[in-house]
């Protein structure tokens, strides 16, 4: 069943001069977006490779760091983002079918879910700032993983204590000096936590911008069976950002969560 050849090809208003047909334009644009996503895979990939090497090098510190971030919020965020991928895919479907109001609602839905994701992320970042688990000296707070840091709750975020407690629960003993040493190394974990989720959040924000643009164009009724490429490309970008998070969640939040782990 042919879907895209309903209008004349040469005179569609969206056809640009270097292409001979809408078909060629769509094929080229889609391929171009995939090549761009290829570059994004390599960019995030570099970060993932560095993360992997440090995880191997400082495994106990990475366990401790991972334990200190909230797996519930991470889990919730994963579901939120996957749902936003669903609404995005539906938006592409609606654009392809020419259903204007569905397009608008689904793009809006994607944006709302995206905002929820960013909101949860902001809360997580605030928690880390409160516990002084922010590497370096950022915004006036120094990294402090082994002492009480929060004003309301001194002792909160003391990773050295957590390490000792964790070891005690599994029947082993970790001396305090060793726990503090490991807690120092968690600074690397948190560097990567903020870098990876930060870069991801940056891409999300750009995605939100893209969605806004698509929303405006959808409202003007620009998308239909003959031309819905921008929505499709926006979808590709959004799904890619979702995939990055699909990997970030287990890599950052689920390091050795079970009881009795070393």
């Amino acid at each position: 069943m042919s879907t895209s050849q309903t209008t004349t090809t040469d005179h569609h208003p969206a056809l640009v001069h270097q292409f001979d047909s809408m078909e060629q334009q769509k094929a080229a644009s889609t391929f171009g977006m995939w090549v761009f996503l290829l570059t994004e895979i390599m960019m995030f990939g570099g970060l993932f490779a560095a993360y992997l090497i440090y995880r191997i090098k400082y495994y106990p510190a990475f366990v401790a760091g991972s334990t200190s971030i909230s797996v519930s919020w991470g889990f919730a965020n994963t579901l939120v983002l996957i749902a936003s991928s669903l609404t995005m895919a539906m938006a592409v479907w609606a654009a392809q079918k020419g259903k204007r109001s569905y397009q608008i609602w689904f793009i809006l839905g994607t944006m709302i879910l995206g905002s929820v994701f960013l909101g949860i992320k902001a809360k997580e970042y605030y928690d880390k700032w409160d516990e002084c688990h922010v590497p370096g000296h950022v915004i006036g707070k120094g990294f402090n993983a082994w002492g009480g840091c929060s004003v309301q709750n001194p002792g909160l975020g003391n990773i050295a204590d957590e390490i000792q407690k964790h070891a005690h629960d599994s029947g082993t003993i970790v001396p305090e000096a060793s726990a503090i040493q490991t807690a120092k190394q968690t600074e690397i974990f948190f560097s990567f936590y903020f870098l990876m989720t930060g870069l991801h959040a940056f891409h999300m924000i750009i995605g939100m911008g893209l969605m806004t643009w698509l929303l405006l164009r959808a409202r003007r009724g620009e998308f239909g069976p003959a031309y819905y490429t921008p929505v499709e490309l926006g979808g590709l970008y959004w799904h890619f950002v979702d995939i990055v998070w699909i990997y970030l969640f287990p890599l950052l939040y689920l390091i050795s969560r079970h009881k009795g782990a070393a």
């Binding site: 990939g45 570099g46 560095a50």
Partner: protein
């Protein structure tokens, strides 16, 4: 438009891409790949001479054994600026952004690249990156070397590392967008009848280059982002004080920077393929081998990066693997040299200027490539790493190779770009002076390195002075040789003889359209029915009306 009009004097077409529209806005907001190519041509020439200026200062300092012209800190800044300017703002964009941008769509029979606006964006990003970096240089620059090794760069040195990193990141994105554009164009916008097996080798080379640009440059971007973050926010990534690993920086940096050298050389090899066939009047020997060798270089080039790190602390076993792989990557390059030589055999050679540069390339690149294999040998590298041997090696491939190819290509396509021929006698002279000056500059450096003179030092033992003086003398000759084309190319814009559609009687779709081409490249969509390089055959290339 007829093709072979030997009896009639060539005339400039009435309307072409240069006079289709006047005014600064028509240039700064152009979507025409040809105008963007000219914009790039002017910009990279500027950065080439900037890099050359730093080189001149370096060679001046090295005339005497004592470090008397500059302090060591300033000298460190000089070679860093030389490297950064030359690598990121000249070599990486050079052929793809100028000749590639201009000629590639026409070779494919297309009206433009796939994404003309992104092409223009690419130039703007490049200009921003270039002038931002220039501003950083003027306000003190960096002294880390173009390689930015940590922990020097991550916290030890007090220069503008983070800002320079930002400039280079933007230059990288310019490169990524150019590569993306080329890949999509080659896949999706070939003229009817133009199968992959009929593509000019220049297209194959630029396509392979674009693959590398797209796959490697993002890793550089993230590495420099991490470095900038580390410097600015004092987080731990590569700095040992915070638990970081300096060798990791080198792994990530060289993952880009080694394939980057193939980004730099592959387009040059593509140019040489075009020049050797045209000026031997013969089809290339082993077309498939040359085409696939470009892809092989692109792929293999990603597997060898740690040969820059043999003495950095990587494991011995890893070093052996990388050493072996580095030997292997020389093979596709050698295939090209052999095939070009075989192409010339029993060809009808004419020694026009582009061919002089091509011949220079073949000899100098061979020397550079072979010394590369020497460096790939673990045992040798331990002794000659970080000496002038390395510097001589990469200048042979980059200047003797790439810059020769760039100049050859510029001379070859100059009539197509401007409609006018450059003056042949000064051009030939410049080519010869380039060859002499180049060898005088860099051959002594092989010996210096072998004798143990380290790189990046502004003072050296007095026994090295003779060779250094020779090298600096050669550099001044080279400077003259590079200035000459700048002068006569400009001269030819007004006074050069009008070239006509195909002054070289070359094959290729770009020679069938007028010189300069119309804005939309062709008056009729070409249909390709012949193989490339059908020199000496009866088949006449036709254009379907």
């Amino acid at each position: 438009m007829s093709t072979a009009t030997t009896a009639i004097k060539p005339v400039m077409p009435a309307r072409h891409y240069l006079n289709d529209n006047y005014g600064i806005r028509s240039w700064l907001l152009t979507k025409d790949h040809k105008r963007i190519a000219v914009l790039y041509l002017v910009s990279i020439t500027f950065f080439f001479f900037m890099g050359g200026l730093f080189a001149a200062l370096i060679r001046l300092e090295l005339l005497t054994p004592a470090g008397d012209l500059f302090t060591s800190d300033t000298y460190n800044k000089l070679f860093s600026m030389h490297g950064i300017n030359m690598v990121f703002f000249f070599l990486v964009p050079s052929i793809p952004a100028t000749l590639g941008n201009f000629v590639l769509p026409i070779m494919l029979g297309a009206k433009d690249l796939a994404f003309p606006k992104i092409n223009l964006l690419s130039w703007y990003i490049y200009i921003f990156a270039g002038f931002f970096s220039l501003a950083v240089m003027v306000s003190g620059g960096v002294d880390t070397g173009w390689t930015f090794y940590t922990p020097l760069s991550s916290g030890f040195l007090r220069t503008h590392v983070a800002l320079m990193a930002v400039g280079i990141i933007f230059a990288g994105f310019s490169s990524i967008f150019t590569g993306l554009n080329f890949i999509v164009t080659v896949h999706r916008m070939r003229a009817p009848g133009l199968t992959w097996g009929r593509l000019p080798l220049f297209v194959w080379s630029n396509y392979a280059t674009s693959l590398i640009m797209v796959l490697a440059t993002p890793v550089l971007a993230i590495t420099l982002i991490l470095l900038a973050m580390e410097r600015t926010f004092h987080i731990g990534v590569f700095d040992p004080r915070y638990g970081g690993d300096p060798v990791l920086f080198q792994h990530m940096f060289w993952f880009y920077s080694h394939p980057a050298v193939y980004i730099m050389i592959l387009p040059g090899m593509g140019v040489i393929s075009e020049l050797v066939t045209c000026f031997s009047r013969k089809r290339v020997f082993g077309y498939s081998f040359v085409a696939f060798s470009s892809i092989a270089i692109a792929v293999f080039g990603f597997l060898v990066w740690a040969h820059h790190m043999f003495v950095a602390g990587i494991s011995q076993y890893s070093a052996m693997v990388f050493s072996l792989l580095s030997m292997a990557v020389a093979i596709p390059s050698a295939v090209k040299i052999f095939n070009w030589t075989a192409t010339m055999y029993k060809g009808s050679i004419s020694l026009d200027t582009p061919m002089l540069y091509a011949l220079g390339f073949m000899g100098l690149f061979t020397i550079g490539g072979l010394t590369g294999v020497m460096l790939a040998a673990l045992g040798m590298d331990v002794h000659i790493h970080d000496t002038y041997f390395v510097i001589a090696h990469f200048h042979y491939v980059m200047v003797g190779g790439m810059v020769s190819a760039y100049l050859g290509g510029l001379h070859f396509w100059w009539p197509k770009i401007t409609g006018r021929m450059y003056p042949e006698a000064p051009a030939k002279l410049a080519a010869i002076i380039t060859f002499i000056g180049f060898n005088l500059t860099f051959f002594p450096q092989f010996i210096l390195g072998y004798l143990g003179m380290p790189r990046r030092y502004h003072a050296y033992p007095p026994e090295f002075q003779v060779l250094n003086v020779l090298s600096s003398a050669g550099a001044s000759v080279l400077a003259v040789a590079f200035l000459m084309p700048a002068i006569y190319f400009l001269w030819s814009l007004k006074y050069g003889p009008i070239a006509g559609d195909n002054p070289w009687k070359a094959t290729g779709l770009e020679w069938e359209t007028s010189s300069p081409p119309p804005t939309h490249n062709f008056h009729e969509v070409p249909v390709v029915t012949t193989d490339p390089y059908h020199y000496g055959s009866d088949q006449e290339v036709t254009v379907v009306h």
